[in-house]
Symmetry: C2
Subunit: 327 residues, 2 copies
């Protein structure tokens, strides 16, 4: 029921994921509304009733999740906890999905804070960014957890053997940055990762680094800035292309390549953000998720579950913890 175009687009995405990708989907939401959407989407999937609906624009969606036990996102997370589903997907508010996942799935042992994790889809060097908005205030040990989880996530999702992990700061030298960054640097450096040290804003789109670790405030600003800047540049390009009859003709030749680039960079193909650190797979889609975006997200959810990602995080964090205890 979460998302700007729910339930129809989400249901349609699930129907497509089922028919096109062979992924078994269970729909959670107000039964009548979901069944109506299912009929319109021409599909036949299992429906689990979730009578509570968190109103759009609720000032504190995390609080709403706690007071409404049977919202669609809570019901979905409970299905994962009960082993009746392998992964949950929601296009509702990030705060709501986080609260539901933590409450119903629980946290992985050794993870101080779950992190919203995105893959920035730079065509030749995709970059994992975390935390992209779950935790406004973090401690250095939380950032260590982000580094460990992000590294493993890059291994599984991007198939990079020893992902280069960087710590976002404002200078490359180890002593640069805030007190938080300096303290996190020391912890991450000792964690046995392929740590490349501090990276700067300009390195995020470069191929210097595979995993960028930061606090949820900076990460969220960076993520939304890239969205805004890409939108701005596309608008400027369209102005240049549409300037004269001659440029309009010329741009026709270039349009296929440009649309491909735009599509590669769009949220449609990214499959949403992963909530790492909870005891189950939870994917949070963009609020404006279309059926295409929902299908991509469901695909990624299934892949992440198949890869046994959560068990591997649990192992790895246990391992890191022991190493740290021994030192």
């Amino acid at each position: 029921m979460g998302g700007d175009f729910a339930p129809l687009q989400i249901v349609a995405g699930a129907v497509r994921a089922s028919s096109e990708l062979g992924i078994e989907c269970v729909l959670c939401g107000r039964e009548a509304a979901v069944r109506e959407a299912l009929e319109r989407a021409g599909g036949d999937l299992e429906v689990v009733d979730a009578p509570d609906v968190i109103p759009m624009g609720h000032p504190d969606p995390a609080l709403a999740v706690r007071s409404m036990r049977n919202s669609s996102v809570s019901v979905a997370c409970r299905l994962v906890k009960q082993g009746r589903a392998d992964a949950a997907f929601s296009a509702g508010a990030t705060g709501a999905a986080m609260a539901a996942a933590v409450m119903h799935m629980g946290r992985v042992r050794g993870v101080g804070r779950p992190a919203v994790t995105v893959v920035l889809p730079f065509p030749e060097s995709p970059t994992v960014l975390l935390d992209a908005g779950a935790n406004v205030e973090v401690r250095p040990d939380h950032m260590l957890g982000f580094a460990v989880m992000g590294s493993l996530f890059a291994e599984v999702r991007l198939e990079i053997e020893k992902p280069r992990v960087g710590l976002l700061s404002i200078g490359e030298e180890p002593g640069k940055g805030s007190d938080l960054v300096k303290a996190a640097f020391e912890l991450i450096e000792a964690a046995g990762l392929n740590f490349v040290g501090n990276v700067e804003g300009r390195d995020i789109p470069s191929d210097r680094v595979d995993v960028v670790v930061t606090d949820g405030f900076t990460g969220n600003v960076a993520l939304k800035l890239m969205e805004g800047f890409a939108t701005f540049l596309m608008a400027e390009l369209l102005k240049i292309f549409g300037a004269t009859e001659q440029t309009r003709r010329a741009s026709q030749v270039l349009l296929p390549g440009l649309l491909e680039l735009r599509s590669a960079l769009s949220t449609e193909s990214q499959g949403g953000a992963q909530l790492l650190g909870v005891n189950g797979v939870c994917i949070i889609g963009h609020g404006a998720s279309s059926s295409q975006a929902a299908m991509s997200a469901i695909d990624i959810a299934a892949q992440t579950a198949d890869a046994g990602f959560v068990a591997r995080v649990t192992d790895r964090l246990g391992g890191t913890k022991r190493e740290m205890d021994a030192s």
Copy 2:
């Protein structure tokens, strides 16, 4: 003497500013080196000897400034303090210029911290961003100072009557963001500015806001991210344009418009960052400043001095301070 192409490009920029814009320039640096550069640039300007040179890549340029009284940036800032110059420009390390300006010019009364301030040159809606890297850790009252200075700077530099001031956060509602942002929100809201509240990363390139206030960590990450992202997108575009004979031909038609956009967004035309909050005009150029960039920066320096910007900041901050004391 600061900058990757100093002294030649800086001297050449000053020679051009003098001959093309009629701005009187005084060159500070090692006299022999500066006179040689002057000869090569074909100019005849006053030279003030500054025998100390801070080595490139010094690990702590601010410390170096304090121990070397006669570096070029210190000598330039002293000329301003003594009334022998109206503004200082340096393409050396930001930390060095800040230290020199604070040490020799002093701070404006009522300014807790000076801020590195940049104009992001979005063609139809340029945006003032501060702090872009001077202060890694700030207090809410420092951010209030940034808001007041940034607003006045937008009035003077961008000729906007009541600049819309926004506070960078991760949600638009007043309660969103870190504790620092929440506390700064209340102070800025009460300061009598045209405060539009919280803005997000995606709003920076939009026309929702004229002045974006943030801490030096987030601001620096955002600034460098935009640089990196623009570089990335330009490289992707060039790949699309160069793909086939046909696209190469088509791109010829679009190239003038694209080069214009790139030039508008480039650091060349921005004239460097302003250090606001010190008792004199101080402009910090990009390390890679060419003669063109140096000339632009000198032009902006002269304009800022002509506008009596420092006196106006002093008046305004005095006013704000009194209002706050009275409340």
